[in-house]
């Protein structure tokens, strides 16, 4: 008999941010426990602690009746815990059998026993009710099938606690059904299941109990979901003071700033056409893979469009490289700060001045350090960037402060006309979010056309003047603020088969 999993007062701090603050909950064997919350609420951090990837600063973790301190992922696995992450970890060029048995491949005298491995894998898959050929290579499978393999792998190691991190985010309706059947089977076998998602329909469909996280705190724990309403969970997730966070400021909208006509490119299959006025904040909403980030890359010249054209203030631009877009006054804050935004080991000063210095250096070659220091100090003060000094390497700053530095990089330019922000508040705590929203309004009040791409619908409903919805590489709707409604936007964003 498995005893329950208990997390007691778990706290985890990162530089500048308290990711988890005394989080407590209990998950029982033979049940599916939901862990819900907005992005940045601390769900993933909690799973990483459970998986031994992070060590908590304080708090107790009780697995199978004894307190555990995992020092590594291996010790967590040894304790019977399996975390199925959003990004799956597998070897694409090996077969299902090899992936399942990786680390424990059957061998004799050091030689791999292929037939033996396939037999073991076959039996295991059959017992799980998964119909896959163990000889198939992982890269030939669909995402859902790869996920199945990952779960099977966990069970092969005799995992008693299985945590799934947003497993359905890239699954179709049908694939989701298969996954749910598997989860229900596991529940029947008495496993402890933790299910992380922000799709409330799935929670009500699948889960028995639920813990709500917000900004690293446990907001509520429901031992049973009977009698709990959807609205109640939303309120707990988002918090009561939504309007306070966004503090939307209406403003007058000027003439056309950005015109995009018939742009197509990688992952943007249908020609995208829209225009934005000066001082207007337009939200782009769509699921992962809907082509919203790819469209922004096309506008910025980071990838080459197949067709279509762009005009800024009526002037057509040929954005073949980000440099062209920047010359026309377009700025872009990419989705992944670490990947496309910051230069991690360079200082705050260098990161702020990176773009402006390309043109403002003395005679285009020498650097005017005194000027750059002055600019850096001004932005650190104006945007409230929390850093010991301007020489600090940017990687040591918190996510919110890194984002402010990247914004400063663009605010540093004199003739800013269009600002594109892709997921500007991802992984940022509420206080910093509020400041970023105010900066967005400020940019709009300066006359910029502002595009905000986000997968958080409440955020876009809070700050945008207009919302453009994308689905499967095409723009499906253009909705003015007066007509914002969560259900309407979602139904336009979800692939057809999921609209029931």
């Amino acid at each position: 008999m498995v005893s329950s999993l208990r997390l007691i007062e778990i706290t985890k701090r990162f530089p500048g941010v308290r990711a988890l603050d005394r989080v407590t909950f209990t998950a029982e064997p033979g049940s599916v426990h939901a862990l819900i919350g907005e992005n940045g609420a601390g769900k993933s951090t909690l799973l990483r602690i459970l998986g031994g990837i992070y060590q908590p600063d304080s708090g107790r973790l009780i697995v199978g009746g004894t307190e555990r301190h995992f020092q590594s992922a291996a010790s967590s696995i040894a304790a019977g815990i399996a975390i199925i992450h959003q990004e799956l970890h597998y070897v694409p060029n090996l077969t299902i059998a090899e992936n399942l048995l990786l680390g424990h491949l059957p061998h004799r005298y050091g030689f791999f026993r292929r037939r033996n491995a396939i037999r073991i894998a076959e039996g295991h898959l059959r017992r799980m009710g998964v119909h896959l050929n163990p000889r198939a290579k992982l890269r030939t499978l669909s995402i859902a099938e790869r996920q199945m393999v990952e779960i099977c792998k966990a069970l092969l190691r005799d995992a008693q606690i299985i945590a799934l991190d947003e497993p359905t985010s890239s699954l179709s309706h049908h694939e989701t059904e298969i996954l749910f059947r598997l989860v229900r089977d596991l529940r029947k076998q008495g496993k402890i299941l933790i299910y992380v998602s922000h799709r409330l329909d799935e929670i009500f469909d699948l889960c028995d109990s639920c813990t709500v996280l917000r900004d690293g705190h446990t907001v509520a724990t429901h031992q049973s979901l009977a009698g709990v309403s959807r609205a109640q969970l939303v309120e707990e997730m988002v918090g009561r003071n939504i309007t306070d966070i966004y503090s939307y400021r209406p403003r007058s909208i000027g003439g056309l700033r950005l015109e995009v006509d018939g742009i197509t490119g990688k992952q943007v299959a249908r020609p995208a056409t829209f225009s934005i006025g000066g001082g207007e904040v337009v939200g782009f909403f769509g699921l992962v893979g809907s082509g919203r980030s790819e469209l922004m890359h096309l506008i910025f010249g980071a990838t080459r469009p197949h067709s279509g054209w762009i005009k800024v203030d009526g002037q057509p631009i040929r954005a073949r490289h980000p440099i062209d877009a920047i010359r026309s006054g377009i700025a872009f804050c990419p989705e992944d700060r670490k990947e496309g935004g910051i230069i991690p080991i360079r200082s705050v000063t260098e990161n702020i001045n990176l773009t402006a210095r390309q043109r403002s250096g003395l005679r285009g070659f020498f650097i005017d350090f005194r000027r750059e220091f002055k600019i850096a100090d001004r932005f650190i003060e104006r945007l409230g960037i929390k850093t010991p000094n301007r020489r600090q390497p940017i990687r040591l700053l918190s996510g919110g402060n890194q984002q402010k530095v990247i914004l400063a990089r663009w605010l540093n330019l004199a003739d800013l006309r269009v600002v594109i922000m892709d997921e500007p508040t991802r992984g940022i705590d509420v206080g910093a979010k509020h400041e970023i929203y105010n900066l967005i309004y400020e940019l709009a009040e300066r006359g910029c056309a502002v595009i905000v791409v986000s997968s958080e619908l409440p955020e876009l409903m809070g700050i945008a003047d207009r919302m453009i919805v994308m689905r499967e590489g095409a723009i499906t709707a253009d909705i003015p603020r007066a007509d914002f409604a969560e259900h309407l936007v979602l139904s336009l964003a979800l692939p057809d088969e999921q609209v029931a």
Binding site: I323, P334, E339, G340, G341, I342, L354, F365, I367, P388
Partner: protein, 335 residues
């Protein structure tokens, strides 16, 4: 660990006198940590000056400086290459080819500057080809320069029919053999390279963009840096300086030798890595590179003075490199 100590210092109360001396000591230790390589080198250098006969003599010091002069100048440009997260294995072959070419051209034209120009031009072309393949065709730098290393070495043998190309032109011998203020020309040129490239790295947009590209190429591109063009320029300059080193070497040995500068590229990269240039890109200092060059040169020089068999010198050089990177890894692990 470094930034942590700095942050600590800034919070230090500076009211009482005893506290000040304490903070002074900590500042000193932080300074030592930051520049530890230089101090280790100085300590070893002083120890050698007292223990090894003839080491600390003017003649030996000049000989040491001359022996590292080619490695020194190419290390300057290799520093840029590594700082931008790239790699160049072709410099050794370029040195040999440029030497052969300049000797051939001088024999043909009897004009020193025609030979120098040919060497510089060929180096620049080789570098430019490397850069274009790496930046625009997006081929891995290791593979690209491994291939051009072989090809350029082949060109050196073809151009010279596998024989050393002797030069009798007096200007050519005088080119590297002359001296100013008692210090020979190659040393002056290497010093000039240190100053020039140190300045380029620290105070120009070219240098800072190089570090930004190495720190995060995608972010640099999205911030409006012409990453591809920059990389071509970095390789082009690298080839140019390797070409110059080739002429100087040929002049010093009064002939263009197709099999000279074998393993040169590895010595240059070793010197940079010894000098704390990160292979992950994004960080480099000219002072580190200078020290790295001199560590290699001093080791070789001392072993020669002590009459240690040349075969053992490979062993020692490798061991020094390994020790330096292990120490560096330990030091930066906390970050």
């Amino acid at each position: 660990m470094k930034p942590f100590m700095k942050a600590d210092l800034s919070q230090e109360p500076k009211v009482q006198r005893p506290a000040q001396s304490d903070s002074g000591f900590r500042r000193l230790s932080a300074f030592l940590l930051e520049y530890n390589l230089i101090f280790i080198f100085l300590a070893i250098f002083i120890a050698l000056a007292f223990s090894v006969r003839y080491f600390f003599t003017v003649q030996n010091m000049l000989g040491l400086a001359l022996s590292v002069s080619q490695i020194g100048m190419v290390a300057c440009t290799m520093m840029f290459c590594l700082a931008s997260r790239d790699f160049d294995l072709s410099v050794g072959s370029t040195v040999a080819f440029a030497g052969v070419l300049s000797a051939t051209v001088i024999n043909f034209s009897d004009n020193l500057w025609a030979g120098v120009a040919a060497a510089l031009l060929s180096g620049a072309i080789i570098g430019c080809v490397n850069g274009i393949i790496i930046a625009y065709l997006r081929i891995n730098a290791l593979i690209t320069t491994l291939a051009t290393m072989e090809m350029v070495r082949g060109l050196a043998f073809i151009a010279s029919h596998g024989q050393a190309v002797g030069v009798s032109n007096v200007d050519f011998i005088y080119f590297a053999g002359s001296s100013f203020l008692g210090i020979s020309m190659p040393i002056w040129m290497t010093l000039a390279c240190f100053v020039l490239f140190g300045f380029l790295l620290n105070s120009t947009i070219y240098g800072r963009n190089t570090l930004a590209i190495g720190g995060n190429p995608e972010a640099a591109r999205l911030a409006g840096i012409h990453v591809e063009r920059m990389r071509v320029v970095i390789f082009l300059v690298q080839g140019l300086v390797a070409g110059l080193a080739g002429v100087i070497l040929a002049s010093r040995i009064t002939s263009g030798q197709p099999n000279s500068a074998q393993g040169f590229e590895l010595n240059v990269i070793s010197a940079c890595v010894l000098g704390g240039v990160s292979l992950k890109g994004g960080s480099a200092t000219i002072s580190g590179v200078i020290v790295g060059v001199f560590i290699l040169g001093t080791a070789e020089n001392v072993m020669n003075l002590l009459n240690i068999d040349a075969f053992y010198q490979y062993l020692v050089r490798g061991a020094i490199l390994l020790a330096a990177v292990v120490v560096d890894q330990q030091r930066t692990r906390g970050e």
